[in-house]
């Protein structure tokens, strides 16, 4: 079924491309080559998928508790700042110490920055949709302040950037002659870990119970407030991990405009995966591969990279509403089935604490 959805997504986007006068077949050929068959293409697709895995998990975890974390972008920035700071300011550590330390710093920064809206909601009832959006903007300004010739700026450069991290903090390359770094392994580990956390641990049970029925959870002794802070911290920690991972594995320093809306793509990844940790893997790979392939596609065909957004949107639509697919393909009338992914209620619902 998801495959049919993806196929249909490409068809719809192809029509849009054809309207502009370009050849969609050529475009998709370019996209495919750029994502898979060119030199480095596949490893680059994997590299591009890694942050989506962490960020998708971050947003999905929030959804499971009924919280809508639109702030993954800001938490990503904070995680990158934490990771890069430990990466360049501490010297002389062996990699096995330096790397975990830098990653933990990233997770910690993201967790604190994500936990804050959780706390504000639990304590004051401040809606997380408002606070996380605001915290995104604050994170952009904060990181610019820090790296644009600020405390974390590179003293030897006039550019707004941080110094390079020490080689001991760089994530090792795991595939010769590529940029593919240890972050992929971390991402592959994070998925079962988060799945286990949510489905098999008491913490996950608390999260799900609060997400499904906060009042019942509370009356049977679960602290809704604590769970909200916790789940937002976990969510923020994952987003922070994504940021640290990008700094330590790919860029090795932090430039300005470090993320262009990663946090919003993360929402899409989480939705595509229906908030299921295992679903995050293919969803993140789809996003990573398309993003990676888009460059080559347009080098070949002049079609705008924004075309992949049309593909992504339609794929999400068809995955979220299998009914539409069946309806389009005239596969027998089926009763409308609703799939509440962002359980239990969407944005704008009354905060319950």
């Amino acid at each position: 079924m998801p495959l049919v959805a993806i196929l249909l997504g490409f068809v719809v986007a192809g029509v849009a491309v054809a309207i502009t006068g370009a050849d969609p077949i050529q475009a998709y050929l370019g996209l495919f080559q750029g994502a898979f068959t060119n030199k480095h293409a596949f490893t680059e697709s994997l590299i591009a998928s890694v942050p989506y895995v962490f960020l998708g998990l971050a947003v999905a975890t929030g959804f499971r508790a009924g919280l809508f974390n639109i702030g993954a972008d800001g938490q990503f920035y904070l995680g990158a700042l934490g990771g890069v700071f430990v990466g360049f300011s501490i010297h002389g550590l062996p990699g096995v110490v330096h790397i975990p330390l830098a990653i933990l710093a990233g997770i910690a920064c993201g967790a604190v920055y994500g936990g804050l809206p959780g706390f504000l909601k639990a304590r004051f009832g401040a809606h997380e949709v408002i606070t996380t959006i605001m915290l995104n903007y604050i994170a952009y300004s904060l990181s610019d302040y820090l790296i644009n010739r600020g405390p974390l700026g590179d003293p030897h450069s006039s550019a707004p950037k941080t110094p390079f991290i020490d080689p001991s903090a760089q994530l090792p390359i795991i595939f010769a002659d590529s940029r593919l770094h240890l972050g992929l392994v971390l991402a592959l580990l994070a998925v079962p870990l988060i799945w286990f956390l949510i489905e098999r641990t008491t913490i996950g049970f608390r999260i799900r119970a609060v997400g499904l029925n906060p009042e019942a959870a509370r009356s049977s002794g679960i602290s809704v407030a604590r769970t909200m802070v916790l789940v937002m911290a976990i969510s923020g920690g994952l987003a922070g991990l994504a940021g640290a991972d990008e700094v330590l594995g790919v860029s090795h320093f932090m430039p300005p405009s470090f993320s262009i809306g990663y946090g919003f793509d993360a929402i899409a990844v989480a939705l595509l995966a229906r908030s299921n940790p295992w679903g995050i893997l293919p969803a993140a790979f789809l996003f990573g591969a398309m993003r990676n392939g888009a460059g080559f596609m347009q080098l070949q065909t002049q079609v705008s990279a924004d075309m992949i957004s049309i593909v992504q949107a339609t794929v999400i639509m068809f995955v979220a509403a299998p009914v539409i697919v069946r309806w389009l393909l005239r596969l027998r009338e089926v009763p409308a089935e609703s799939l509440q992914i962002t359980q239990p209620e969407g944005v704008g619902a009354a905060p319950k604490t």
Binding site: R200, T202, A209, L212, N213, A216, S219, Q343
Partner: protein
């Protein structure tokens, strides 16, 4: 199945939970499409595809779960869908208020048109529901479990309204689990089981015991069989407790009570006299303003719900959909909501799901929960079975104090019998039981002592021979203890 209702009659519809009573009525009202069969109204065959069709025919329905919109005013709720409007669709507020006032005057249904529904007691909300139906010109009124939330006085008031309506020639379909009401108000009785009519009779031709047997398919004990209480030490003490409600008004006002091991204290009272707030405060779900709560000799006034749970408090909440079960989770998870993070259900942070399932299988069996298995989601169960899940969970926690709020609301006679027996067994095993119920019959048949709550205070605590239906009814209505005592002696 067939059902015929005549004008000028009250037709009672009986059946156990999930028998299909509400479903059938929803078909009549056009909310659900029937798979087959036909409907005749005034002799003519009719098609009812939507509530609009039903309203057009003169069918009105008061749903089991009220179909009112809490933040709107009474007038808005009544006129909704049939508004009188001036130009440009602007509602004529004055006209609609006047209409509501006239209607309520004519049928003796006192309500303030400008009050917000969310601020009204359930009894008054029900009046609004009936007004809604009458405003739409209903001649056939369907009342789905209308008395489950009413006090005896309110119930009597409702019956008068019902009789008034039938006297004018209207028909009323009356769904209930309370056999006494059926006997007193119904002209005809239809009993359903599993979607089929199993009997059609009249109050004169049958008895409550007959009806109960027809509903459940086996003889039912309508009275609770229990021996005298053997009270021990007080396990739950409430001293001078004051609690605010959601509107920040004083709802519990310096209330004190104590429940001893091995006894059932029944807390009787009209809904809205602070029971909800009291229960929530004892459970730790609502902050207290002053006073103390002591649980098994431990002060827990400021303790979290969790600490109280651990201290030995079991709590059957009044609103099971909201607070009792998580409808989307499997029965097995619902049965360990309070214990999921403790051995034997967890080791460290890892849940031991096999244990959870075994535990569930066992409770499903011992509490006779009608379910496909432990992994079925709670939302798929009928209301009575959901309630059994809650009861099973709260009793299996090993509590020393059980606080049961409206434990059998909306539950059929078979399940009521079962739940009542459980509560008595727990008492006999030495639990202190606080039974909060607006169902006077329930209090009378279960409680060893009865405390009557009125305006957030205990009006009186009655024991032994003092426990008397009329006396409690009067106390619930706000009569002073001495007046009641006088009446009692006089009567």
């Amino acid at each position: 199945m067939d059902l015929t209702v005549e004008w000028g009659q009250v037709h009672a519809l009986l059946g156990e939970n999930g028998a299909g009573k509400s479903t059938l009525m929803n078909v009549v009202y056009g909310l659900i499409r029937a798979d087959s069969g036909e409907m005749r109204f005034d002799g003519a065959q009719v098609q009812v595809h939507s509530p609009q069709d039903a309203i057009g025919l003169g069918i009105g329905m008061v749903h089991q779960h009220f179909m009112l919109i809490p933040p709107l005013t009474v007038a808005d709720n009544v006129i909704l869908g049939q508004e009188t409007a001036r130009a440009a669709g602007v509602i004529d507020g004055r006209a609609s208020r006047r209409t509501v006032r006239e209607l309520s005057h004519r049928y003796g249904l006192q309500v303030d048109p400008d009050a917000r529904v969310q601020d009204l007691s359930v009894g008054v909300q029900q009046r609004v529901e009936i007004l809604k139906a009458l405003y739409r010109g209903a001649r056939l009124l369907i009342l789905d479990e209308p008395t489950s939330v009413l006090t005896p006085q309110e119930t009597e008031g409702l019956f008068q309204i019902v009789r008034g309506l039938t006297a004018e020639g209207s028909a009323v379909i009356f769904i209930t689990h309370k056999l006494g009401e059926v006997m007193s108000v119904a002209d005809r009785i239809t009993v359903m089981r599993r979607g089929k009519v199993v009997a059609s009779t009249t109050p004169a031709e049958s008895s409550p015991a007959d009806l109960a047997r027809l509903m459940v398919g086996r003889p039912v004990l309508l009275r609770v069989d229990k021996g005298p209480a053997q009270p021990g030490l007080p396990l739950l003490q409430v001293d001078e407790l004051s609690v605010l409600d959601d509107r920040r008004q004083l709802a519990v006002d310096g209330l004190s009570l104590e429940v001893r091991a091995g006894e059932i204290l029944g807390l009787a009272g009209v809904e809205g006299n602070g029971q909800v707030e009291l229960v929530e405060a004892i459970a730790g779900l609502r902050p207290t303003r002053s006073g103390r709560v002591t649980l098994c000799d431990r002060e827990v006034t400021a303790a979290s719900p969790r600490r109280r749970l651990r201290a030995g408090l079991g709590h059957i909440p009044a609103d099971r959909h909201r607070m009792g079960v998580i409808l989307e989770l499997p029965i097995s998870d619902n049965l360990v909501l309070g214990d999921f993070d403790r051995p034997p259900f967890a080791r460290g942070i890892v849940r031991l799901l096999a244990q959870v399932r075994d535990h569930a299988a066992q409770l499903i069996k011992s509490f006779d929960v009608r379910a496909e298995g432990p992994q079925q989601v709670a939302g798929a169960l009928s209301g009575g079975n959901q309630q059994k899940v809650v009861v099973a969970r709260e009793l299996s926690n090993g509590p020393r104090v059980l606080m049961a709020a409206q434990p059998t609301r909306g539950v059929d006679v078979g399940s009521i019998e079962f739940i009542h027996r459980q509560i008595v067994e727990q008492r006999d095993a030495g639990l202190a039981v606080l039974l909060v119920s607006s169902e006077l019959d329930e209090v009378l048949s279960l409680a060893d002592r009865v405390a009557v709550i009125y305006r957030g205070q205990i009006a009186a605590v009655l024991e032994g021979d003092e426990i008397d239906r009329d006396r409690i009814g009067l106390l619930m209505a706000g009569a002073k203890t001495d007046e009641v005592a006088a009446t009692g002696e006089g009567g």
